[in-house]
């Protein structure tokens, strides 16, 4: 008698529970992303390793994936395997890679991960073959209760989604943070192992392949370390965005689409500039723009708006006063006024800048023959 169907109809977990409740023995093969078999004995899961399909041994993959055994070692084991026709587990034990206890732990963890995988597939096809004969030749080190297995798998599937949000990419670089000196947080053995591994800065990918524990456990330990402020995510490389290759005509169209707004923006900027150049002075009261404040033009308007003209007049008067004061000082020391204003500058009665401003404003200096009186003439007819 066979039980088969699509996972869409019934959750695979129900099938597991069903087999467990009825304490059936047999083989459940699930075809989803890849084919997988689960062996049940009296309603407990004993293995996921199909003896008939040597090329696809989930235990071997598991050992390689998480860095229990490196690929060179595995090649040696494979050679032994083909020579002796022994089971992988036998070789591992006889070659003393692991003790029996260790292997048992690895074995259960591997089953746990495989089941978790199977359960997370969105759709699959399953078939359950009842009978003890299919179990012949299956080596097993654990008999796992379905109830616990399912609950743990469900928890892991649930939480893994969240963990993947924290660690969205395996390219992330991880760094551990120093243990706070006062009150160091207590670490579980998993966490401690990961923390020790992270003595070197490494990517998540590398960490997983060295962690000797299922991916989920590594993630979980990392999350706990992060919560305990012992972990720092240094660099999160941006996911590479694949730019769609655009055809020539499309590029042309796009260039055309870009052309018009660019012209509009440039035109607007020019309009702003023009507004500043011509519009703003027009709106402001007459004579109020910085650019129209040049002396000649203000007088030319002659509207009685004295603002800028007045300030200029004030500055001229101050300039004249400065010159007169220094002329007076020159007279006081020398006994007569100087012949030219330049001699004031030479004698440091006045600075060179002031002399320059006098010339700029076209102020003439006239002295009478005796040097006892002078005139400052403003030449306004320029």
């Amino acid at each position: 008698m066979a039980l088969e169907g699509n996972v869409k109809d019934f959750g695979l977990s129900e099938i597991f529970q069903l087999i467990s409740l009825q304490k059936k023995s047999g083989m459940l093969s699930v075809t989803g992303e890849k084919p997988i078999v689960v062996f049940f004995k009296n309603g407990s899961v004993i293995s996921t390793r199909d003896r008939r399909d040597r090329s696809r041994d989930p235990l071997k993959d598991y050992l390689l994936r998480y860095g229990f055994i490196d690929s060179d070692e595995m090649k040696r084991i494979e050679r032994i395997q083909t020579e002796t026709n022994l089971d992988l587990t036998d070789i591992l034990l006889s070659e003393k890679y692991f003790s029996e206890d260790e292997l048992k732990t690895i074995f259960t963890e591997q089953i746990q991960e495989t089941v978790q995988d199977v359960l997370s597939w969105p759709r699959s096809y399953y078939k359950f073959i009842i009978g003890t004969q299919v179990l012949r030749g299956i080596t097993h080190y654990a008999a796992m209760q379905v109830e616990g297995l399912l609950m743990e798998s469900m928890r892991r599937i649930d939480e893994f989604a969240e963990l993947q949000r924290i660690f969205p990419s395996e390219k992330m670089v991880l760094k551990r943070q120093a243990m706070p000196k006062s009150k160091p947080p207590r670490l579980e053995s998993h966490e401690e192992f990961i923390y020790d591994l992270l003595e070197q800065v490494m990517t998540l990918e590398k960490l997983i392949s060295h962690a000797r524990m299922p991916r989920f456990c590594t993630y979980e330990a990392l999350k706990n370390l992060l919560e305990k402020e012992l972990l720092q995510i240094i660099d999160e490389p941006k996911p590479i965005e694949w730019e769609e290759s655009t055809t020539v005509s499309e590029a042309k169209k796009q260039r055309k689409r870009r052309f018009l707004p660019t012209v509009a923006a440039v035109f607007l900027l020019i309009a702003c500039f023009a507004a500043g150049e011509y519009g703003v002075p027009y709106v402001l009261p007459p004579g109020w723009s910085a650019r129209f404040a040049k002396a000649g033009q203000v007088e030319a308007t002659g509207t009685g708006n004295l603002f800028s003209a007045d300030l200029q007049e004030l500055r001229l008067r101050q300039l004249e006063a400065t010159v007169e004061e220094s002329l007076e000082a020159y007279l006081a020391i020398k006994g007569s006024y100087p012949f030219t204003l330049e001699s004031l500058a030479v004698r440091e009665f006045i600075d060179k800048g002031t002399i320059a401003r006098i010339h700029q404003n076209d102020i003439r200096y006239r002295i009478d023959e005796n040097g006892t009186s002078y005139m400052l003439i403003r030449n306004r007819t320029r």
Binding site: D158, R165, A293
Partner: protein, 635 residues
């Protein structure tokens, strides 16, 4: 013209004959013979204090100081201070020299110098004008600095709404350019500080915190108040205008009656100042000993202004010189009738009584003059002592000059601050208060009326910009789109907390380094950027002021009489050091990084979520078990 010079020369000879020769000690310590001669001539022309000589001596002293001959320099400085009654610079330099040599005298000189500054009309109005101007520039500058800082602070929020609004309409140019384009457009328009400030105030008002609004409003009110009063500030303009009526009338107390001065005063043709003009002309004539002409001028002055005390006094002096002592006393008495505390009038009556051999009356009058402070007059008019004058003449007092300046300034159409600030403000400063008032009203209206969906805010977690349209407040926090999506659909509060923290730290390190440099545009800006608004305002105000002093090499409006020598080094050192210090101080104002155990999600969520999760799970399990029963039966 030549005949006039001959008469003046004759007058000089006459004066020489009449006046007692100058006290030998003071003038003989001037070692330049030409300068001594010039000073003597000035005294003969009736100069009450020898400003020009004093300034020359002061400059010599400064040159000596540069060479390190401070002993000689000190003598010059003392002489300079003695020869002029209102020139404060030598006293300040003396104070500095004494301080450097650890003499306690420096305090006396300092107080004396301040006294001189305080009683002199020209320095009073110059200081007042410059202080007001410094205040205006500082307030305007600080306002601009604060507004620009606030714009930078709130730019992400403004930009967020701009981008959101724009993104719906077009794909190019990219939405991130739009804000920049708008700013460049505004800058291209060159609207002037006034309009830019207005735009910024209106744009930032809805976003600013209450404290920031307070600071902006304070500065706006300060600027508006000064702008409102700019018509009155106009009365300070004559102080810096040598051609103003006030400036010309003030000449009488600064120099002797020379041809140039008299010509200047004759050129005044504003009938409003006729009495004062006549008085000054009379005084000049009196100094040149044209007594008849002087009398005519004084009589005209008092006929125009019945309460013109100085004119009565100098009229009395004319009669005194003419030997008409009774009329002289009548003149002095009318001064006392107008102002019973006039020391000069009492003193001159006392002197006249001596001429009339009434010694008892004279002595009581002179005593009264002493109590009324004739000594003060002697101090500020060194010529009186040097020449040993019998009677003292009146000039236009500081108060008199202020009232003249007031009348002149009020009649003047120009407004000095408007003119000076015009190229920067591009708006009449004396009308700025109207603009600012309208701005504040508009800002308040805009702040109230702005649609809710336009009110951008910062994400509670990562402080990136968000608005009601794109944010989520499911968790009780206002989270931006990105933050909300990181924790979307999650159940574990701990994980959410960890994810939010991760994002928060990522964003703060990303923006932290940027914002640390972003606000170092001007001292005070970092304080405002980090929420220390009042400190920021004060620092910005002080620094704009310091910068202004540095750029203008002292006050903006300068006394044209002051001949600028090399600028002392401290003027270059003190303001930058001050600015640097405030920069460092304000740059240190940073927000502290968050503590380790900081949790952002509300506390009740930690309990709530777990409860609801269990309840939901229970329901699901029941359903599943029912289906399972059915399957069992079918097998």
């Amino acid at each position: 013209m030549s005949s006039r010079s001959i008469t003046i020369a004759l007058a000089l000879v006459l004066m020489f004959a009449i006046c007692t020769p100058a006290r030998p000690n003071t003038l003989s310590s001037i070692n330049n013979s030409a300068l001594r001669q010039y000073t003597e001539q000035e005294l003969e022309r009736g100069a009450p204090s020898m400003g020009t000589t004093s300034r020359i001596l002061y400059r010599e002293a400064l040159q000596l100081l540069e060479r390190g001959e401070w002993e000689t320099a000190r003598e010059r400085l003392l002489l300079a201070a003695e020869l002029s009654g209102d020139y404060a610079d030598p006293l300040f330099t003396l104070a500095r020299v004494e301080l450097m040599h650890a003499h306690p005298d420096f305090l006396i000189y300092l107080v004396d110098g301040i006294n001189r500054l305080a009683r002199n009309y020209r320095s009073q109005s110059l200081i007042a004008l410059n202080t007001m101007f410094l205040l205006v520039v500082s307030a305007l500058g600080a306002l601009l600095v604060i507004l620009v800082t606030l714009l930078m602070k709130y730019w992400p929020l403004i930009d967020h709404k701009l981008r959101e609004g724009y993104r719906k309409k077009a794909a190019f140019p990219p939405a991130s350019w739009i804000g920049l384009l708008i700013i460049i457009g505004f800058l291209f328009m060159r609207l002037g500080i006034a309009l830019y400030s207005v735009i910024l105030v209106i744009a930032l008002w809805p976003l600013a915190t209450r404290k920031e609004k307070g600071v902006v409003a304070t500065l706006v009110i300060l600027v508006a108040a000064i702008s409102f009063a700019s018509g009155y500030i106009n009365i300070l303009v004559p102080a810096i205008d040598p051609g103003s009526i006030t400036g010309r009338l003030a000449l009488i107390s600064e120099r002797g009656a020379d041809e140039r001065t008299i010509k200047r005063i004759r050129e005044i043709n504003d009938p409003a100042f006729y009495a004062e003009k006549e008085f000054v002309l009379g005084t000049s004539m009196y100094r040149l000993n044209y007594l008849e002409e002087a009398r005519r001028h004084f009589l005209t002055a008092v006929s125009k202004r019945k309460d013109f005390a100085p004119a009565y006094l100098n009229l009395g002096n004319v009669y005194f010189k003419q030997g008409d002592y009774d009329k002289a006393i009548a003149g002095y008495q009318s001064v006392i009738a107008l102002d019973s505390t006039n020391a000069l009038a009492h003193f001159n009556i006392g002197q006249t009584y001596i001429k009339k051999m009434l010694f008892a009356e004279s002595s009581s009058m002179l005593k009264r003059a002493n109590t009324l402070g004739i000594e003060k007059y002697r101090e500020s008019h060194p010529a009186v002592t040097i020449r040993g004058l019998t009677i003292y003449e009146a000039e236009l007092s500081t108060r008199e000059l202020w009232s003249i300046a007031y009348r002149e300034g009020r009649a003047h159409p120009a407004r000095i601050f408007s003119e000076v600030l015009q190229p920067y403000l591009l708006f009449p400063f004396h009308r700025l208060w109207i603009l600012l008032a309208v701005t504040m009203v508009m800002a308040a209206v805009v702040g109230k009326r702005i649609p809710k969906s336009w009110r951008a805010f910062r994400c509670d977690n990562c402080s990136m910009a968000a608005c009601p349209e794109c944010a989520s407040s499911e968790t009780g926090l206002h989270l931006c789109k990105s933050c909300a999506s990181t924790i979307d659909g999650l159940t574990s509060v701990k994980v959410m907390e960890a994810l939010l923290r991760h994002r928060r730290q990522k964003m703060s390190t990303k923006t932290g380094t940027r914002s640390a440099w972003r606000f170092i545009i001007f001292p005070g800006a970092p304080c405002i950027g980090h929420g220390k608004t009042t400190t920021g305002m004060v620092v910005a105000l002080l620094n704009v002021g310091a910068l202004m002093l540095l750029i203008c090499n002292g006050f903006y409006f300068k006394d044209p009489q002051v001949i600028v020598l090399s600028t002392p080094l401290w003027k270059y050192i003190v303001p930058p050091v001050f600015m640097l210090l405030s920069w460092v101080l304000s740059a240190r104002a940073r927000v502290q990084s968050e503590s380790r155990n900081y949790r952002i999600l509300p506390a009740e969520m930690h309990i709530d979520r777990q409860g609801s999760k269990q309840a939901g799970g229970g329901n699901e399990a029941e359903k599943k078990s029912e289906q399972l029963e059915a399957l069992l039966n079918s097998l």
